[in-house]
């Protein structure tokens, strides 16, 4: 989380909550990703011990919201780099994580995370 699973906003600097409009569908979709409880079942179920479902859920929760936009690229890159550094494996798209997830986090977030990484590298 400390590698970028946040928005850099100090207490007291926020604008009014309704200034940032988020459509209902987008808010619900962000909520789907945010529902992750960080239990680790996805990592335990993965034959590669990859934490991609967890990382992608956090990245895609914030990537879908305007609040997360300013740090969108660095967040995706840094969080994946941290995951690699800590020795988690790579994703080989078996889907075991989704099957094990008690909060029904979808593997589509992993695909979207890969796209986020690709975009940030291509556009940097």
């Amino acid at each position: 989380m400390s590698a970028g699973g946040f928005t850099s906003v100090n207490t007291g600097t926020a604008v009014d909550g309704n200034v940032l409009l988020v459509g209902e569908a987008r808010a619900e979709s962000a909520m789907d990703a945010a529902a992750c409880i960080g239990c680790g079942a996805c990592v335990a179920a993965c034959k590669n011990a990859s934490a991609m479902l967890f990382v992608s859920a956090k990245v895609m929760h914030l990537a879908q919201l305007p609040q997360g936009e300013p740090e969108r690229k660095t967040r995706a890159v840094n969080m994946v780099a941290q995951m690699d550094k800590e020795g988690f494996g790579s994703c080989s798209n078996t889907g075991a994580c989704e099957a094990a997830c008690p909060k029904e986090i979808s593997v589509k977030h992993i695909a979207k995370l890969s796209r986020e990484i690709l975009k940030s590298k291509a556009c940097s």
């Binding site: 989380m1 400390s2 590698a3 699973g5 946040f6 928005t7 850099s8 906003v9 100090n10 207490t11 007291g12 600097t13 926020a14 604008v15 009014d16 909550g17 309704n18 940032l20 409009l21 988020v22 459509g23 209902e24 808010a27 962000a30 909520m31 945010a34 529902a35 409880i37 960080g38 929760h61 914030l62 919201l65 609040q67 997360g68």
Partner: protein, 635 residues
Amino acid sequence: MDSRIPAGDLQGKWTRCKFENKLVAPANRKKFTVIVVGSGLAGASAAATLAEQGYKVKVFTYHDSPRRAHSIAAQGGINAAKNYQNDGDSVYRLFYDTIKGGDFRAREANVYRLAEVSASIIDQCVAQGVPFAREYGGTLTNRSFGGAQVSRTFYARGQTGQQLLLGAYSALMRQYGLKHLELHAREEMLDLVVVDGKARGIVTRNLKTGALQTHTADAVVLATGGYGNIFYLSTNAKKSNATAAWRAYKRGALMANPCFTQIHPTCIPVTGDHQSKLTLMSESLRNDGRVWVPKAKGDKRPPSQIPVDERDYYLERMYPSFGNLAPRDIASRAAKRVCDEGRGVGSSGLAVYLDFADAIRVQGKETIETKYGNLFAMYEKITDENPYEVPMRIYPAVHYVMGGLWVDYHLMSNLPGLFVLGEANFSDHGANRLGASALMQGLADGYFVAPYTIGNYLGGTKLAPAPLSHEAFAGTLGDVKARIALLSKNKSGTSALEFHRNLGKILWEHCGMARNDAGLKKAIGEIKTLREAFWEDVFIPGSETNMNSELELAGRVADFMELAELMCVDALERKESCGGHLREESQTPEGEAQRDDSKYCYVAAWQYQGEGQPAKMHKENLVFENVKLAERNYK
């Protein structure tokens, strides 16, 4: 006992207080260390904010990660006086609702400040990316909660607490990544170190290795939650306990209104002795669910076969203007009353129905699923009944404690340098808390109040150095060691859990929703006997020098044993009914709770007088300059 409420009109108090506060210049802040114990909403938000301001912060949690704190379990929502629904809400109305909901047993100034900063909390959380529910146009949406006639509750499905905690946690972890704070996970605070009358440090036990350690600081923040688990069966997490607060009490901090506990009306009923905890069903369900019992006593027909005219929708009948959204204490007492009359449902007869059939008919199953899907799923997992088809069965259960360590307007205890935030303090909810106000209070204290008042304390107090070599640290550490040795002395005996279960039964019976003089006196006697038996016979397997959950539990239960007695003493002393508590000697002719403002309009703050001595009560009289004390009428 000086509550340090700023003078002047209610609306200007907090502004004046902030202006009059001493400041610490940005460059000097790194010279001060603040210990924060607890990483729930109040602790995480305070720690993150203090670290952002530039103080050195050390965070302690007994969890493996700060994100495991029990705040995460809050379901329904968080109140804020935004008036986004254009339905007449205002800071003053939130203030008034909270004071009235608390049965006029809270400080006006504190509650007004809470209402005042509530709007900033929402802004802050939105900025952190908390995915609050939205309207199609993109604006924030709200729902209603008990005790209010406006929609001011913000929510993130049925997991608002989780999302708010993840917000605070992400702010905390950001500061951790920037190396602005130290994080000590799996360290449980076992005592408070007081140097020259000021809180200067703590003693902790590493839960993995059993190692005891001392830590020094310039101020200590306790955000250690409530002690509802004292009842054994409660909706609190199994680990939640009173130890940090109780240790502070025994070092001189006052404990205020300990008998004020909240019994939440919508929990899954108790099923038997095997159960270790209870599960809450969010109060938000009462927005669409209708509460009823059969009109006839002992009617054992399945709910679908009881025609509408043989059902008693008792909340709608008794409280037509608030209906199913009557405040928690009122709804709980009403449920107890109908069950005492023999009209309870389910095999135990200790449950009432919460029925969604009408809501599903009018709004459609899909809408109900969007609003409460995860709650319905959780209910089905636990009870094996599908709430889309049969009504839920619910019954009141211990959920929250309004009582806690006494604090002044600055959230500082009578022990200088000890700040108490969130559920651990007694400040804002009086004798009953309204729904969706706990999240509000925790975050208000942590984000917007304590960071100012702690700065004032550090800026305005001359603090002598308190190195770990100071004799107070060795002394306190010695006390902790002696206590652990005493707990571990038996080679066989009874488990701490068994004692805890028995303690819970005594309290639920005599110090729960209804209390009376004889019952409380009996409870005090029983608790004393049980406590003696505990020290005589408690057996802790395993060693004290490595991970030992039995030892952790025994220490917590030992403190519960002492606190339980103080709760009963406090309840005995308060001979009025107020908030969630019916004092049987004090009822209106209709059987409603009768408050006695002439005698009991005060905060009872208890001071420890030494082992075996009765605690001494200090009264802080509550002065109401703005609201008129009225009978709480939700009819």
